[in-house]
Symmetry: C2
Subunit: 130 residues, 2 copies
């Protein structure tokens, strides 16, 4: 389900389209001057398009990154995307909260949830997804 | 930042208010007949309010669950919440995608991101959040 009629969702779609080129400098086109990205899980904050570009360029990868948008929920000013990411070997899922101002991304807060085992036996209440 | 003028965000706020009572049967008031919750990380799907209620009631806890809403992004039909959860000992963060139909939650897809170490040395591009 993608809500594409609001500017925030459209900018987020463009962000992921540019990410998929693997030319991370190109992504700066949709980042605001004071762009800030936070990764709460690793307690890291990236300030500015230059740091974002460099970090992504240096990220160890086995092949080009491929991004699959599972869902975008947006309301014009903010949007959240659920995206699957792979380089052919590593597989991950990014949940990203975007704030969009004047057509550019001013902030992102991004989560990378990883597989885990059920913390207690609750099989009688659940089924397998797949 | 909370967008509270849309029905999806309002229903999600009510969901977390009811969760905070720790009377999980009460939460059924905002769940649709065909409610389905998916936890992709553990490959688990819960069908129906009864299973949801029972599972939450049996979840091992040290004390009452306290929920802090960090953010809700909604657009009337869907909403995403970022919520911190604790029982005084366990601390977690839930990122939940809700679909709302006729004022009730018909589906949830929920992620539980956990802390991790940065996967490579990228300290020159980042700062600590806190």
């Amino acid at each position: 389900m993608t809500t594409s009629s609001d500017i925030a969702s459209l900018v987020v779609q463009e962000f992921w389209r540019l990410m998929a080129t693997n030319n991370f400098q190109a992504v700066a086109a949709v980042l605001a001057q004071d762009f800030v990205l936070e990764w709460p899980q690793s307690n890291e904050r990236i300030r500015g398009a230059a740091n974002f570009t460099q970090l992504n360029t240096e990220y160890p990868a086995q092949g080009p990154w491929v991004f699959t948008i599972n869902r975008i929920v947006g309301n014009g000013e903010a949007a959240v995307s659920d995206v699957s990411v792979t380089d052919g070997v590593q597989r991950a899922r990014a949940i990203s909260f975007f704030t969009v101002e004047d057509g550019k991304i001013s902030s992102m807060v991004e989560f990378w949830p990883e597989p885990y085992e059920a913390p207690f036996d609750r099989t009688k209440f659940v089924e397998r997804i797949e």
